[in-house]
Amino acid sequence: MPKLRVPKIPDSVVPAPLRKPAKPGQGGNGKGQAPQDLKTSPPERETHVQRLGNQAKEAPVDILAWVDQRTGASGFLTGMLYRKVPKGTNWFYTLGSATLFAFIVQAVTGVFLAMFYTPSATQAYASISHINNDVPLGQFVHGMHKWGASVMVILVFVHMGRTFFFGAYKYPRELNWVIGVVLLILTMTMAFTGYLLPFDQRSYWASIVGININGTGPVVGPYLSDFLRAGPELGATTLARFYAIHMLLVPGAIIALIGAHLYLVMKLGTTAPPWMKMDKPKVAASVAQLDAGVEGNGNGRVNGAGRSNGVHVDGDSAT
């Protein structure tokens, strides 16, 4: 299998070498002469306070350099921010990050709801009433979490539809599609487990039906429904279990998989819209030229059929 090429980052965007902090007391030009802008006023010896001030000014750079030496983060960040997205990238390509943002909204509002929610069959309903009626902005945050769930589910499906119709799940992005489908299933799991938590009539009876639906499955069905119900009847133990799944298990898995999903997006790049292929020219006008360019680039062989596309593909410096 051919190796994927890692595009070289153009020199122009690589950050200047990290500065060393200026040595204290270096005011002049090194030849005993005062610098031009200091000619009018006599050169002053730097006071202790000024020296401290200068050091403080350099401190952020020092800290960044310290972190960078130990993590290599600046290279990673430049590579991430200045990597090229293919020609033709349009608004359809914002659906993934929009889904991520809906998830962040769910995470943040969820944390605030968790501060006031009590996962107990006797107190859950009252704690939601408390959030809705007493906590400042309580109903607003609760509403954002409730409707954010719908928005996130819609975005997940639309993002998947875009990936499907654009053929973006094909080589070399098969694994990212698989991760995405798992994320879809986890999102639906979040929706299902979160539905019980308000513990009103609607969530109670819908969860019973949901658990019973799981129970009709062959072989594992009854075990799955027993596991979800955590007892003979839907009650306190069920609520605690749904709460733990909704708060810890699934969010942890979602965050980890989003990380993997984004890593692969960065590594493989986002696709160009499939129609971009259409302006392919007929045959090999400048295959030789292309060949030379690509080989010079160390990028390996060029397949016979010309796809010079009128584009002059030369070294990485062409941007």
Partner: protein, 233 residues
């Protein structure tokens, strides 16, 4: 996908990438705009639609119709399409599992190099049919009423039972005469001619299959309910 196709794709992609723009600030700008729209929509929905609480969960009163959240309608409605009891596992677990596996394995059985949808007729049709089916099922779930009235002439001694049935959400899944939804549960219009009163009562108490158990109803109500249902023949 043959190795040459893979190589072709990678080379072509490299060209598109070279002709592209840097992620920052171009894509970041679009993404941020979209993120703001998402947050604005969520905030607007929260402000307009709120987060009202329903009545408190109560195992002894089933006045609330068990309906899933709207984004599960497409799964729930499959149960109304496929109704025979012996086929219920196919609707509840079989079809969703098959769809999930098909979805998960998509890149492994659709390996052609073509990416333009109009040149992938099977994928295009399958995708559009899936969207239409999910849209239809969601719509069907949304318009499925949850009646709490039974428009049926019964003898006076069964009136009480009729009220219990109407008030316990039975019509969400069962049809009685012209009332209620035809599924996922079996039609009850002539239930008494099929099973005896004791069996009706037992079903209500244990909740067979996906049906919830109603054993927490007060015994008087259970008896009235069984009386009414066993009069339907």
């Amino acid at each position: 996908m043959k190795p040459e196709d893979k190589q072709d794709y990678l080379e072509e992609y490299e060209v598109f990438k070279k002709k592209g723009k840097p992620f920052f600030p171009y894509a970041v700008l679009k993404d941020s705009t979209m993120a703001l729209i998402v947050v604005a929509v969520i905030i607007a929905m929260s402000l307009i639609l709120g987060a009202e609480q329903g009545p408190k969960a109560d195992p002894t009163s089933t006045t609330y119709v068990p309906r899933p959240e709207w984004y599960f309608f497409f799964l729930f409605e499959v149960l109304r399409v496929i109704k025979p009891p012996e086929l219920v596992p196919i609707a509840t677990v079989g079809i969703p599992t098959i769809c999930m596996v098909l979805l998960l394995m998509l890149p492994f059985y659709d390996r052609g190099p073509e990416r333009r949808p109009e040149r992938r007729p099977i994928a295009l049709i399958a995708g559009i049919l899936t969207i239409l089916a999910m849209g239809y099922l969601t719509y069907a779930g949304a318009v499925a009423g949850s009646p709490t009235q039974i428009d049926l002439k019964v003898a006076p001694q069964y009136e009480a039972g009729k009220e219990v049935v109407a008030g316990s959400g039975c019509l969400a899944c069962h049809k009685i005469g012209e009332n209620g939804n035809n599924g996922p549960g079996p039609e009850l219009t002539h239930i008494a001619s099929r099973i005896p009163r004791a069996a009706i009562l037992r079903s209500v108490e244990i909740g067979p299959g996906i049906m919830p158990s109603f054993r927490e109803l007060p015994p008087k109500k259970l008896n009235e309910l069984a009386d009414f249902l066993s009069s339907l023949n």
